[in-house]
Symmetry: C2
Subunit: 191 residues, 2 copies
C-alpha cells in the first residue's frame, strides 16, 4: 500500500543545468535550474523552466540563446552558488573564478571549466504556471576530450555528473553502470 505525499514536484533524477546567458549589456551570467530535460530528438531540443523574476529570464528573451553547462561533482558548490545568488547583484563568473567563453553559435556564454556544454537557440516559450519553459534547439554539444570513452562517446564515469533530489534536497553523484539500453530488457528470442 503506497503512501500519498500530495501534489509535489518529487521525481528522480532531476538534472543540474547551469544555464549561461548574456544580459542586454553583454555581461555573462549563469543560473542553476533542475526543472528541465531533453524534449525532442529531431530537431534535438532541450527544455528548461525559468521564472519571470529571474535575471536569466529577461536575458534569454532578449538574446534568443542560452547554454546548458553540466557540472562535475567537483563543481557542486559552484552549481549551488549559481542557483542561490542573482546576476543582478554580482558577476557570478568572477565570484566563482569561472571563465566565460562566447559561443560562436548562439548569443550566450559557456563555462570553460565545466566538462559538457550544450549551445541552444531559443525556439519556443511555453507558459505553464509560475515557470516559463524555454525550448531550445541544441546546435552543438561540446566536451572536454578527456571525458570521452574509447568509442568516442561521452563517458559518465569520467564526467561525473550529479542529480538533484527534490524533497530532501540533496545532490547525488551518478554511480555505477547498471545496464545497457535496448538490450537489458530484450526478450531472449531477440538476443
Amino acid at each position: 500500500m503506497k503512501k500519498s505525499l500530495g501534489a509535489k514536484t518529487i521525481v528522480y533524477p532531476t538534472p543540474v543545468f547551469v544555464v549561461g546567458s548574456y544580459d542586454t549589456e553583454g555581461r555573462p551570467n549563469i543560473m542553476t535550474a533542475s526543472w528541465g530535460g531533453v524534449c525532442c530528438s529531431q530537431p534535438p531540443s532541450l527544455a528548461v523552466s525559468i521564472r519571470k523574476e529571474r535575471h536569466s529570464y529577461e536575458n534569454i528573451i532578449a538574446s534568443g540563446g542560452f547554454t546548458v553547462n553540466v557540472p562535475s561533482v567537483a563543481q557542486v558548490s559552484a552549481a549551488d552558488y549559481a542557483g542561490i545568488y542573482s546576476g543582478r547583484d554580482e558577476d557570478k563568473f568572477a565570484a566563482l573564478g569561472l571563465t566565460p567563453v562566447r559561443s560562436d553559435l548562439v548569443n550566450a556564454p559557456y563555462i570553460e571549466e565545466f566538462p559538457l556544454i550544450l549551445e541552444c537557440a531559443l525556439r519556443q516559450t511555453v507558459e505553464i504556471g509560475i515557470h516559463t519553459q524555454f525550448i531550445g534547439e541544441i546546435l552543438d554539444v561540446k566536451i572536454d576530450p578527456e571525458m570521452l570513452d574509447d568509442d568516442g562517446n561521452p563517458d559518465p564515469a569520467k564526467i561525473r555528473p550529479f542529480a538533484y533530489a527534490p524533497g530532501e534536497g540533496g545532490y547525488w553523484a551518478i554511480g555505477e553502470r547498471v545496464g545497457q539500453s535496448f538490450s537489458a530488457g530484450k526478450k531472449q528470442a531477440d538476443g
Copy 2:
C-alpha cells in the same frame, strides 16, 4: 579546448520515466521515456515527450491522464523492456509480471511494484519536432512507505533510481550524496 560533438541530445542525467496509460478499451499500458522532467513548481507539473507513432500517444490524448512510474535498479530490465516493445502487440504488464493499479485521480494505471509514482492530468501538448511534449499537472506523488527517510522525505538511497545516459546508452544508478542544495554554495558570511 573543447571538442564539438555536433547537434545531439546528449546531456546528463536524463530520467527513466515509465509512463502508464489506458488505451481506449481500458487496457493498461506502459512505455519508457527519457525525454522529460519537472517543468513547473506551481502548479506542480511534469513534461514528457512522446512520438505520435507510439501507442501511448493516442492513449493519453484520449484519456487525458498518465502516470510516471520511477523504477529502482532492480527494475532496469523491466523499464528497458517497456521502451522496446509496443502495447499494440502485447500486454506489457502481463509480460513483465507487473500489477496495474487504477489511479483514483487520473484515468491511468500505475505500477504497484515500482517505488515512486506520479499521477498527472494532461494540461497542454506542445509540438516540437518529431516529439510531442505532454505537460501534466502532478496531482499526487505516491511512494512505498519504506522508501522514506527519518524526516518523511523520499530517500534516493532507498529508492535507488537510475538515469539514462544518451550517447553511450547506459543506465546508471544514483550513487553517493555529494552535497545539500541551497547550502553547498552559500557564501561564508551567510552561513
